[in-house]
């Protein structure tokens, strides 16, 4: 299975994937050292929200909106674990019409869409794993769009510890150069 690291892709394509409060150029931090808190996370839902305290999870329904300083996620259904002794949620699943919007420090907007997004947080042997994996029900594919540039694949994985994004399986990228640039006359996609 081909793995394309989006950071490399963005360098090649001139893209800068949104990471409003993170730095793509900073060294990856797998040390497990505490990070600076990113600020509060908000989850709003129009419909019923169920808390199962025996099995320790919460389910939000209808026009679910998750916002934090880095991104906004909307979906129709979201389930998250409720840690028994408090602390952070480590497993979150968002389903149906999943849309993730990012805006970077320069105001560049990026949108990722799919049918399911899975957030996973885990620390083992001092190593922090924190990922968001976006997938879609076949024949659909998860998609990342930044202005006129588009990427799809079987799964789009955002590693939040390194702020790298990679696309797995059946990758397709379409990059249209900025028309204001000297090379902007070329309207053909360069990744396909």
């Amino acid at each position: 299975m081909k793995m394309f690291y989006l950071a490399i892709l963005f360098l090649a394509a001139g893209l800068a994937f949104a990471s409003a409060q993170t730095n793509l150029n900073s060294p990856a931090d797998h040390s497990g050292a505490p990070k600076i808190a990113r600020g509060p996370l908000k989850i709003n839902a129009e419909g019923p929200t169920a808390f199962d305290l025996n099995h320790h999870f919460v389910t939000y329904t209808e026009n679910v909106v998750v916002t934090d300083p880095q991104m906004k996620l909307t979906c129709e259904w979201l389930q998250a674990n409720l840690p028994v002794n408090g602390g952070r949620m480590t497993n979150i699943v968002a389903q149906t019409n999943v849309v993730m919007d990012f805006t970077d420090e320069k105001g560049q907007k990026t949108r990722a869409t799919g049918d399911q997004a899975v957030y996973y947080f885990h620390v083992e042997n001092g190593i922090t794993n924190e990922t968001v994996t976006l997938t879609a029900n076949p024949p659909g594919k998860p998609k990342v769009v930044q202005e006129q540039n588009t990427m799809t694949g079987d799964a789009i994985i955002w590693d939040r510890t390194t702020d790298q994004v990679r696309v797995t399986g059946h990758f397709q990228g379409i990059y249209l150069p900025n028309t204001n640039s000297p090379a902007g006359t070329n309207s053909k996609p360069i990744f396909q």
């Binding site: 990070k35 509060p40 908000k42 839902a45 129009e46 808390f51 305290l53 028994v84 602390g87 947080f121």
Partner: protein
């Protein structure tokens, strides 16, 4: 009366997580309150208009943790209404872990409580927070099923999660 309440509380707690009521200082009707306490399923027998203060209903864990409170619903007052239900004012609903730490605290201006089923519900506003206060939730309307430890907030749910550093203990 307090000692009687405590004794009954212990007995009921040992009797496999039974719900009970503590009605202290029943307004102008201490006998009625006591009867109400002893015969929880017959709350509708309270004299019409009786309004007991300092209401609480406690659920205990199953053995071997039968001494540990699992959940408690309390209120500033409880008024019997039709169908054997209670209208509870200034409701506080707490869910505890086996070690006694609070897991969840729910507050609402009022709710209707069914002593038979252990269900509480309200169409009004509700506020909830986890024991460590890392999660704050507000919404409109709720249903609490005591026996299942299941809470549903009906509409317009707003959650704020205070993020912890990205590392687990």
């Amino acid at each position: 009366m307090t000692s009687k309440l405590k004794t009954a509380k212990t007995n009921l707690g040992r009797a496999r997580a039974r719900v009970m009521f503590c009605l202290a200082r029943a307004r102008g009707a201490p006998l009625a309150a006591m009867l109400f306490f002893l015969a929880r399923v017959h709350a509708q027998t309270l004299p019409p208009g009786a309004n007991a203060s300092d209401f609480s209903s406690v659920e205990y864990y199953d053995a071997p943790n039968q001494q540990q409170v699992k959940s408690q619903i309390s209120g500033a007052s409880a008024q019997p209404i039709e169908g054997g239900l209670l209208l509870i004012k200034h409701v506080k609903l707490e869910r505890f872990l086996v070690d006694g730490k609070p897991q969840l605290i729910v507050t609402a201006p009022e709710c209707v409580f069914n002593p038979m089923t252990g269900q509480a519900n309200s169409p009004g506003e509700v506020h909830m927070q986890t024991g460590d206060k890392s999660l704050q939730i507000e919404g409109q309307g709720f249903l609490w099923r005591q026996s299942e430890s299941f809470l549903i907030i009906s509409n317009h749910v707003q959650t704020i999660i205070e993020k912890t550093p990205a590392i687990a203990p």
